[in-house]
Symmetry: C2
Subunit: 208 residues, 2 copies
DNA sequence: GAAGGATTCAAACGATCGTTTGAGCATACG
DNA sequence: CGTATGCTCAAACGATCGTTTGAATCCTTC
């Protein structure tokens, strides 16, 4: 089922929107520039004019979402970090909720699938781009997890964070067996997802 | 870094081995039949002769590993299912260990990446194939989890199993931040992975 | 050796791909 | 109006793709 692509806005924005939708559905290789430009209602050469290459377009698709997402994550983390009453669940909430809100937004709903594909594809240049531009966010969350879980060795901590983020990526990508029920609103489904994820991840991180 | 591909064995086996390696590295679309047949040392037309099409080749790559993997899973489950002393960790072990052993075998080491890609790609025909041929295994494990976690609603149970399998897929795909240290043997690393996974998943499944 | 079936081979097909190119159009400014 | 800049367009390029084809080779059996 094809996600409808907005045909208003600047050419550049239309391309980014179509790219996001088609990359989510078909992957980076699977979505051709002809499909994408057709969906956006622009000419094929517009991609190279505005973005230089398909590869650069892929990076811009990420940049336009991750800049805002990670800013929100860091802002939420700043509210709870280092506080004496902070619980693990609060830090997890700061990490998970911005992503879930993005994931369930009308226009951002496919982005987490794009992100999941980025991880699954093991594309070295893409991972380098993500690591260089957003790795500092993960390091800040890791430091706060370490503060709240002093009983864990560094190695155990990394293991658990890795598994928790794996579960998070999986949940957000929409690939699992959980689908929103038709009698449940988008907002309620998102809240349920947040709670399930936080409960699962907090227990897993705290396991002894 | 390219995984070396065996050049002995029947043409068919060589193609399957090369396919597994290149699908893991480049994805289903990203790995062309020319790359694959070149790596296997066979002629391009051999794929269509032996498998009919690239799509059918993909299915056979899965079938040759999943038949054995799921048989092992069911055998391990049969040893613990329904027993009065069975713990959650035992069922998780039955689910996880065969996959980890496959994941760390010399020849099967890339298969879990192939499987992770299958999930990430959200390819409907592939998911249908996996669901039709191997869905019964998951249902049997779910029934045993339900027996051991009677306090959970059906919905909560599905949520947690989904998250746990997401974490498992992530760990086995080798995409996360955890790499084997050079002073740790393959066998020890595998055992560590099993233990980390079981501890994390059991705690997450049991969360209250 | 001959026959039949299985397998391999190189060439070719039609299709698709990302990128490039130069002409044409639109807008803003003097 | 002329000029400069930005943007759009269709055609073309070189490359790659999965699939097909018919000839050649290999293997087995009689």
């Amino acid at each position: 089922m094809n996600q409808p692509v907005k045909r208003t806005g600047s050419t550049k924005e239309r391309i980014l929107g179509a790219a996001e939708a088609l990359f989510a559905q078909r992957g980076f290789d699977g979505a051709s520039l002809r499909q994408l430009t057709s969906a956006a209602g622009v000419n094929l050469a517009a991609v190279n004019y505005h973005f230089g290459s398909k590869e650069k377009l892929v990076e811009q698709v990420f940049r336009r979402r991750l800049d805002a997402l990670n800013a929100q994550r860091l802002a939420a983390l700043a509210k709870v970090a280092g506080q004496p009453g902070t619980r693990l669940e609060d830090v997890l909430d700061a990490f998970i909720r911005p992503a879930l809100e993005l994931s369930h937004e009308e226009e951002g709903s496919l982005f987490m699938r794009v992100l999941a594909r980025a991880f699954a594809e093991h594309d070295d240049s893409l991972r380098k781009f993500l690591s260089e531009n957003y790795g500092h966010v993960m390091r800040q969350f890791t430091a706060e997890f370490a503060r709240l879980l002093p009983q864990l060795s560094k190695e155990e901590l990394y293991w658990r964070i890795d598994l928790a983020t794996g579960a998070l990526t999986h949940a957000m990508s929409g690939f699992g067996m959980i689908q929103r029920k038709s009698d449940v609103s988008e907002r309620v489904h998102r809240e349920q997802t947040v709670q399930h994820l936080i409960r699962f991840a907090a227990a897993g991180l705290n396991a002894n």
